[in-house]
């Protein structure tokens, strides 16, 4: 039987093929999401088992702008279930958005660039089928995430209606980012650029939501993450914000289809213009090449961290206000100055984590170059192994250092303006320095993995970043045993400005970073080049 030839024909087989290709990835994303919710649920119920504990918790959270900025609107904290939703929802929303973006991008532009889509489109497959299949797979993953989260929360003893609403909110936010990605892949000049654009939108959505929640004002409603959290699971149980997500998704998908009809396979609407016919002077060494390859991503990260620094610095003012307004909080917490400093330490840890994530991604770029076969022609010239990997490692280390200092300077500058004390800039920039060795350790680890264990390097390096993130933000709230975060470089970092900068742990962390770097470079010198 001949299938009707429409622009959608072939979608079914493409969906099955995509699900097959993602049969490990998607369950991992969903498992992590549901697992986080289940863990949070179990540990919150253990932690706040008396009304007094819960009240104390609600009071301290209500006074902490950093927590609100990180988590969401402090509503529904009168029940443990509400506390669970407060603690975990922003993380699983971001996780689901990343899942949706990665899945949609992977089966559209990334496939086109790899030339696989051409093979597919040449078979009897309609013009819209690859996009439709990618969106369907991403949407199915969001739905599965919603059900998994609802099930995990219900199974651990939380009310079913709120639990599935929580899941639905998370899934709905994922749908919006499916739509955002579907548009981005039509517009951007390359798959990488598209992922960068989606990351920027996600970052903006997070910052707007954080600003809105801390000030209790309208910016929340400009953010898909804000819409998802506006359902207030376990307290308000509102479903209307979900409609907002669905409408936005529909509009974005319509825009994506309209754009798809106006572009060619393999290129975006923003076409690549002809470039220079000869290389600039700077492109003459492995380091020059690395700088060239990293500069675009670095510019994006710099803008993101500068903005984040400004936002986090600005929120410090709200911390003081909240603290002043909240008599209960004052009973639990020491004086205002140290509350602000505690907040600032959290803010700097966050910036350090993001800088560490940049460092890992920059080092892994070298590994991606190798896997794509682009290291081979370079290493067949008079370029040594150490110079090549070292070039990428140098960019990662210097870049991550600059990123963190930019974020610290932004926080410091905003504080200096807000308090009228110029010395704040220097004090906070100095405090930022204490977090650098932890970032270097993450960079060094990525180099060591790339040099010694090339095939699983990317997965392991990201697992390390995830581990440091989770232990930094959850070890305390989940009441995990102390040894859990023992391997995290941030756990060994003195939390300046609350703690004093201690030289010894910082020197040890720096030495560990250097040792990892050396091991990675030596490993790379002694192994085969590994393609694929």
């Amino acid at each position: 039987m001949r299938a009707p030839r429409t622009t959608l024909s072939g979608t079914g087989p493409l969906v099955r093929f995509a699900l097959r290709r993602d049969r490990v990835r998607l369950p991992v994303w969903i498992g992590v999401g549901a697992g986080l919710v289940a863990t949070q649920s179990v540990s919150s119920q253990a932690l706040y088992d008396s009304p007094q504990d819960l009240a104390a918790y609600a009071a301290s959270v209500g006074a902490n702008a950093a927590t609100i900025a990180l988590s969401g609107p402090p509503v529904g904290l009168v029940t443990v279930a509400g506390a669970v939703a407060f603690e975990i929802s922003s993380f699983v929303v971001v996780l689901t958005a990343l899942m949706a973006a990665a899945t949609t991008g992977r089966h559209t532009r990334a496939d086109e660039e790899a030339g696989r889509a051409e093979l597919v489109r040449a078979a009897r497959v309609g013009r819209h089928a690859p996009l439709a299949a990618a969106v369907l797979v991403a949407a199915a993953a969001c739905l599965a995430m919603a059900l998994a989260i609802g099930t995990a929360a219900t199974a651990t003893g939380l009310p079913a209606d709120g639990s599935f609403l929580l899941g639905a909110s998370v899934g709905a936010a994922g749908l919006v980012f499916t739509g955002v990605t579907a548009v981005a892949v039509q517009v951007a000049a390359s798959a990488r650029a598209a992922q960068g654009a989606v990351a920027a939108v996600l970052g903006a959505a997070f910052v707007l939501r954080a600003l809105g929640d801390v000030q209790g004002s309208w910016p929340v409603w400009t953010s898909p993450i804000g819409w998802a959290q506006a359902t207030h699971p376990y307290s308000g149980n509102r479903v209307l914000p979900l409609a907002l997500c669905l409408v936005a998704t529909g509009v974005l998908l319509a825009v994506a289809v309209a754009l798809l009809d106006r572009r060619d396979l393999g290129s975006g609407l923003l076409a690549a213009r002809p470039g220079p016919a000869s290389a600039p002077w700077s492109l003459r060494s492995p380091l020059g090449l690395a700088v060239r390859l990293h500069r675009g991503a670095f510019a994006g990260w710099t803008a993101g961290l500068a903005l984040l620094g400004v936002a986090l610095g600005g929120l410090a003012g709200s911390v003081e206000t909240l603290f002043g307004d909240n008599p209960e909080a004052r009973a639990f917490l020491p004086d205002a100055a140290s509350v602000v400093d505690a907040y600032l330490a959290t803010a700097l840890s966050m910036a350090a984590l993001l800088s560490g994530a940049y460092a890992a991604s920059a080092v892994l770029r070298a590994r991606a170059e190798e896997a794509a076969g682009r290291a081979e022609p370079v290493l067949a010239t008079a370029t040594g192994r150490v110079a090549w990997l070292g070039g990428h490692a140098a960019v990662a280390l210097v870049g991550a250092t600059l990123l963190l200092l930019v974020a610290g300077a932004a926080v410091g500058a905003v504080r200096a303006l807000a308090t009228g004390e110029p010395a704040e800039l220097g004090r906070l920039l100095g405090a930022t320095g204490a977090y650098l060795p932890a970032v270097w350790v993450l960079a060094g680890l990525a180099v060591a993995l790339s040099g010694l264990l090339p095939r699983p390097a990317a997965a392991l390096a990201w697992a390390a970043v995830a581990y440091v993130t989770v232990t930094t933000f959850f070890a305390a709230s989940l009441d995990w045993p102390g040894w859990v975060d023992a391997a995290s470089p941030l756990a060994w970092t003195p939390l300046v400005p609350v703690d004093d900068a201690a030289a010894a742990p910082l020197a040890v962390l720096t030495a560990v970073a250097a040792a990892l770097l050396g091991a990675g470079l030596a490993g790379f010198r002694h192994r085969d080049l590994v393609a694929g």
Binding site: E113, P274, P276, A279, L283, R284, G296, G373, L529
Partner: protein, 306 residues
């Protein structure tokens, strides 16, 4: 003169798969050496070992008098490489890639670069992601040919080129030979190898099956002879070295061992030869013969060899 490439008994395994299984390769200075073999025979793997990108598990290998693994950087100054599968940086233009690779290798001659861009009809201003396969290949070729290397290692350099560009490539290789440079050329285009190469190495399943000049290889095989005579030729079938004789009226066709040709011609001379066609085997036939054996060994009927 010491050989430019001297590999013997090379072994390379990937997990349980044995990509090289005792491969030998000798390339003399100033020659264009063809490196032939079916897909997966181990050509690219050998080349990667020669470039120090992979380390051999066994055997010995010398390149330009050095150890390709230990002395990689020093040796690479003296060679240029075109990979079999050219992947470039998506956002970098062809011209930038040529300059970068050239500079890393030791310098580019601007006049030569311009000449090659012209000859290969390549637009250096396009970003790599918008190049066709053939044009990506040209970027790597221009970068290599613009260098002042002693040894050119070319892994299927013409797999994406159109016939016009193929001709330009062949001229460039001849020019390299005229300058006394050495070329190792892996290829599936047998006419190209036949045209260009002084000597050949045929590999199969990680082993060298034959090596030498094309003339020498022909000597080891049979010449196909078709003859028309006035009178029937008696006794052909009994001559040692005559194979697959088919007679059809006054026309006979046979394959003759090279050292039996003389006897055959002597016998024919007495029978009134009206026409005689004698064709040495083409490289394609030599190649198909080896490849055919491999298929036969796998239980697949051999390809019909003309």
């Amino acid at each position: 003169m010491t050989p430019v490439i001297e590999a013997s008994g090379l072994v390379k395994t990937f997990g349980t798969a044995r990509a090289l299984d005792g491969l030998d390769l000798d390339v003399a200075p100033g020659e264009v050496h063809g490196f032939l073999g079916p897909n997966g025979a181990g050509k690219s793997t050998t080349i990667r070992v020669l470039l120090g990108l992979l380390r051999a598990d066994g055997g010995s290998v010398r390149l330009l008098g050095g150890d390709p693994w230990r002395d990689a950087v020093a040796l690479h100054r003296r060679l240029a490489y075109v990979p079999g599968d050219v992947t470039l940086w998506p956002g970098v233009t062809g011209g930038e890639a040529i300059d970068l690779l050239g500079r890393l290798q030791g310098g580019v001659d601007p006049a030569r670069r311009a000449e090659l861009l012209e000859r290969f009809d390549l637009d250096p201003r396009k970003r790599a992601r918008t190049y066709s396969k053939g044009n990506r290949q040209k970027v790597a070729l221009v970068a290599a040919l613009a260098s002042d290397a002693e040894l050119f290692v070319l892994d299927e350099p013409t797999s994406g080129l159109d016939p016009l560009m193929e001709a330009v490539f062949q001229e460039e290789v001849r020019a390299l030979r005229a300058q006394g440079r050495t070329v190792l050329l892996s290829s599936h285009v047998l006419a190209e190898a036949e045209n260009l190469c002084d000597r050949l190495t045929i590999v199969r399943r990680g082993r060298t099956v034959q090596s030498g000049t094309l003339a020498g290889m022909r000597h080891l095989t049979r010449t196909s002879v078709t003859v028309e005579t006035d009178r029937p030729v008696h006794g052909l079938a009994q001559l040692p070295g005559v194979h697959d004789l088919r007679t059809d009226g006054g026309r006979s066709h046979m394959d003759v061992d090279t050292d039996a040709l003389d006897d055959v011609v002597r016998l024919l001379a007495g029978c009134g030869v009206r026409s005689l066609v004698s064709a040495p085997p083409t490289l394609e036939e030599l190649f198909l013969r080896h490849y055919g054996d491999e298929l036969a060994a796998d239980g697949i009927p051999a390809l019909a060899v003309r």
